[in-house]
């Protein structure tokens, strides 16, 4: 690093906070435009069917309703392209921006009503007479897999994609293994649920033939290009503007139907149009995530050494393949084994279409699910083999000497999409975590009934592949007021981007942080940008800003030397001034007249960073109520290098609590007709302030990333990844004497209570834990060959 390095590594209080704390953030719902109309959207009330008729006359007759737009008004209805993994075959299952006759999930857009107020627009939606023919719904992936009812008849299948992850020779490994166990596991459908619902404000300038859309997030440049193509405009004629964004977590900012419909409506009526999603709408319209179940097997030596894993995983993808919908199934196949040395692996993942809201990424996509499956398998093996949970993991973590360690080969994809753990010492973090937690002492609590509750502890390890490429861009320039303007192609979704980028720029330029202005996420700033996904902003955006700041530093030195005399190398930058060795200096404001400006690009050749960590939990289970209390939770991770310990710690704690939501309560429940039963925040429960008060996180920087100049690794997702498996194992260990097998999430009070009640009946008069049986290794059975 250049300069005195005051900011990077320091808990710099956030620049963003000054406006948010005063209620002066500017979210899209806070914006108005002269002459603006309000949009409300009629959505499919049924899971599967056909539109027979749509009569908007009564809606149009409502005073204040200005227009109703359905597929007929749009004409050629575009479909939404995949942003990630646009594999051949997927084009058959893309979502049209508005229903064109067929309805495939509750919540699918059918018509847009434009009115003078949001209330009138909603009145209009209510007045549209919709005639539909109901078709039998594909309500779950099992029905889907029979391919009798098809979502897309012309394709002849409900199977959107199959991924296979392969390492070594799993068949041979299982044939010869002394111990194997097979199990079925399931992770429920849940969702990112940012606190700010989505919103858009589109303005069409008919004179200039320009479209401006406010409310962009995550990937504005990709979405700009997508929208431009759909509207038949040049990308340069479309601007996407990012305002303050109330949380993303993977779901917000992907290209959704509304990202076309609202701009189209603005052009159609020649007036600005604003649409603000309500929460019920959000729960059916925004990407769902996570739903997957599996039948998987583990093979081990008697000493616990893992020989192989194999099996089949089914993803309930919902009604369409959306922009990033294949990331979860891909990751389940490629990264099933997480941080563990699994020399032989064969994992087949089938992504099936159902009549539910389409799914996409949610923080740690596929990794949370894979970790649950994998950690459960490992725990069951440890119990069967009589090994301590920590020792079982210690023996199987990828070793420092094995780095870089190649993960499974993926098909389709092949060598082009290979990825490898980039380095570090996984065991070091595990040991630190165990010591901080007091594993050896707490082991004695395992399964004990204390104060009326059963206590259990568990440990899990994880990797977070992050910092996806290909690149990020930045531009830095001196401005006449003496500040440095930093433009970066990264996007802010609430993670503190402005502060972190300012820290990097200020340190590199040796200047006070309050003289750095960060601009991000909006397309007018730069020619290209890649945005905020896969925990990439600090890794790629930060590195681009760093490279740009270094170049700007050289330019400033050159310009100052030219004016002050002497060689550029003799110029140093201190507190926002360029100074010669004999003390003569120029301010940045003076030098700005020279037009000092640099463009920078940081490329990582798609080489991911791998943050890694371990987590431990101590739970107490009340079998009378099924309530589980998390008495202690600790996550330790090595993130390479910490730019801001405050924001990093916030990512860790926040991620863990989101993961606990998925482990215990969050659940998008559908009935047999494909109706969502959890359409409000009174039904879809997320953690509250009183649920999980004891969470600890420690971040280390022992092993900087080798793939970028800052040494940073993506760190927004790691701590959520192990939570499901960890909690299930802790509960399983607490209830070991009941033979409980917490193999399904969420571990709601009802489910935990039922586990205790059923096990009590089954085991009445029997010995505590069922002995491993030595016949066929069917689901739920283990096999030890003697």
């Amino acid at each position: 690093m250049i300069g005195t390095n005051r900011y990077i590594g320091s808990p710099v209080e956030r620049i963003e906070d000054l406006r948010f704390l005063r209620g002066r953030g500017e979210f899209v719902g806070d914006l108005k435009s002269e002459g603006m109309l309000h949009a409300a959207i009629l959505r499919s009330p049924i899971a599967h069917g056909r539109i027979r008729g749509l009569d908007s006359a009564a809606a149009r007759a409502i005073p204040g309703v200005r227009d109703v737009i359905a597929a007929a008004e749009i004409g050629a209805v575009p479909t939404i392209p995949l942003r990630l993994l646009p594999l051949p075959g997927t084009e058959r299952f893309l979502q049209p921006v508005i229903a064109t006759g067929r309805l495939r999930y509750v919540g699918e857009p059918i018509a847009v009503v434009l009115a003078d107020s949001a209330a009138r627009a909603e009145d209009g939606v209510g007045a549209i007479v919709l005639d539909v023919e109901e078709l039998p719904p594909v309500a779950d992936r099992r029905v889907s897999g029979r391919h009798e009812i098809l979502l897309f008849e012309e394709s002849g299948t409900n199977l959107a994609m199959t991924f296979t992850g392969v390492l070594g020779d799993a068949e041979a490994a299982f044939r010869d293994a002394p111990y194997v166990r097979r199990e079925c596991f399931e992770v429920q459908r849940h969702t990112a649920l940012p606190m700010e619902p989505r919103g858009l404000l589109a303005e069409w300038d008919s004179t200039q033939q320009r479209m401006t859309v406010l409310g962009a997030a995550k990937v504005p440049f990709f979405n700009r290009d997508t929208l431009a193509a759909m509207l038949g405009l040049a990308p340069a004629s479309v601007d996407l503007i990012e305002n303050d964004v109330g949380g993303g977590f993977g779901a917000r900012g992907e290209f959704y139907p509304e990202d076309f419909l609202i701009p189209f409506a603005a052009r159609h009526v020649g007036r600005p149009v604003r649409w603000l999603e309500d929460r019920r709408e959000h729960l059916t319209a925004m990407n769902h995530a996570r739903q997957a179940d599996c039948e998987v097997e583990i093979a081990c030596r008697r000493d616990g050494t893992i020989l192989g894993m194999r099996g089949e995983i089914f993803v309930d993808l919902g009604a369409y393949v959306r922009t990033n919908g294949l990331i979860q199934p891909r990751t389940l196949a490629q990264c099933f084994s997480g941080p563990y040395r699994v020399p032989n692996l064969h994992m087949v993942v089938r992504a099936l279409l159902t009549n539910k809201t389409p799914s996409g990424t949610y923080r740690g996509p596929g990794r949370y699910e894979a970790s649950f499956f994998c950690e459960r398998l490992i725990e069951l093996a440890a119990v069967d083999l009589g090994l301590d949970s920590a020792e079982m993991r210690r023996r199987n973590l990828i070793g420092a000497a094995e780095m870089p360690y190649k993960l499974a080969r993926l098909e389709p994809g092949g060598a082009a999409v290979d990825t490898e753990c980039d380095g570090g010492d996984y065991g070091e973090v595990l040991e630190r975590c165990l010591v901080e937690f007091g594993w050896e002492e707490k082991r004695t609590l395992q399964g004990q009934l204390i104060d009326g509750r059963y206590h259990g502890i568990a440990v899990a390890c994880f990797i977070e592949g992050a910092g996806a490429g290909p690149k990020e861009t930045a531009r830095l320039e001196l401005t006449p007021d003496g500040t440095v303007a930093v433009y970066v192609g990264s996007a802010a979704v609430g993670q503190g981007l402005e502060t972190v980028m300012a820290q990097v720029a200020a340190d590199t330029l040796g200047m006070p942080i309050d003289l750095v202005r960060v601009f991000h996420g909006s397309t007018p700033y730069l020619n290209e940008g890649y945005g905020a996904f896969a925990s990439r902003s600090t890794v790629l955006g930060g590195s681009a800003v760093y490279e740009g700041a270094k170049s700007l530093l050289e330019k400033i030195r050159g310009a100052a030397a030219a004016r002050l005399g002497g060689p550029p190398d003799d110029i140093e930058l201190v507190d926002g001034r360029a100074r010669t060795r004999d003390g003569r200096s120029l301010s940045f404001a003076d030098l700005a007249a020279d037009g000092l400006r640099v463009d920078a690009t940081f490329q990582n050749n798609n080489k991911l960073t791998y943050t890694y960590g371990s987590a431990v939990a101590h739970v107490a289970v009340d079998l009378g109520t099924g309530q589980v209390e998390v008495l202690d939770f600790l996550v330790v991770e090595d993130v390479g290098r910490i730019v801001n310990p405050l924001t990093l710690h916030g990512q860790a704690i926040g991620g863990v609590v989101q993961g606990l939501g998925g482990a215990f309560m969050e659940n998008l429940v559908y009935d047999a007709n494909g109706q969502l039963l959890t359409g409000t925040l009174a039904d879809y429960l997320i953690p509250t302030a009183s649920d999980f008060p004891r969470i600890r996180a420690i971040a280390l920087e022992n092993h900087p990333s080798p793939s970028n100049p800052l040494g940073v690794k993506g760190a927004g997702e790691g701590p959520i990844i192990p939570v499901g498996g960890l909690i299930a194992n802790a509960i399983g260990n607490a209830l070991a004497s009941f033979g409980a097998t917490p193999n399904q999430l969420p571990l709601s009070p009802a489910r935990v209570w039922r586990m205790g009640a059923e096990a009590s009946v089954e085991n009445l008069g029997k010995n505590a834990r069922a002995e491993p049986v030595s016949d066929a290794a069917g689901p739920g059975r283990s096999q030890i060959r003697r």
């Binding site: 209080e13 606190m195 700010e196 619902p197 409000t680 925040l681 009174a682 008060p693």
Partner: protein, 158 residues
């Protein structure tokens, strides 16, 4: 319908449809957009404002019900100059990330500490459990409110 109330100390008169809720009135009619709407069914708490001293969900109260009352929003808890002690504590503890739930957290915590400057951690957690945050995991928010208590003890409460 015409409604008269005091907003952050200033008398206001506003003409609203009877069905308009207070949050829409504050945001759209009076352009005080610090009050955020996260669910519009009383579950998330982002729209919490202080009505005659009590923390109230502005999405569950009709604007016409505000007649004659005195309402404080997040804007009214702020000054041009320095951050208030509660705001300072939020910043210090990194008790906000995306900032969307923050106005409701601040108004709820302010109403609580005004009445109960000695509230303990359990009490603060119980009261704030009606305000959803998806970013922070709540722990830093509770730490910030605990930290801010001193300022409420010293000052004249009302």
């Amino acid at each position: 319908m015409q409604v008269n109330f005091k907003l952050n100390g200033t008398p206001v008169v506003v003409d609203v449809e009877p069905r308009m809720h207070l949050a829409d009135c504050l945001r759209d009619e009076l352009r005080q957009t610090g009050t955020h709407l996260g669910c519009e069914h009383g579950a998330c708490g982002a729209c919490t404002v202080i009505v005659d001293g009590a923390a109230v969900r502005a999405c569950l109260m009709l604007a016409v019900q505000a007649e004659g009352s005195s309402i404080v929003t997040v804007e009214g808890l702020s000054t041009e100059e320095a951050l208030t002690p509660l705001q300072t504590a939020f910043r210090k503890h990194h008790a906000l990330q995306c900032g969307f739930c923050t106005p409701g957290m601040l108004t709820t915590a302010h109403a609580l500490l005004t009445d109960e400057p000695d509230a303990d951690g359990d009490r603060i957690r119980a009261v704030l459990s009606g305000n959803l945050c998806r970013c922070t995991g709540y722990i830093p928010i509770i730490d910030a409110v605990l930290d801010a208590r001193a300022a409420y003890r010293k000052s004249d409460k009302r």
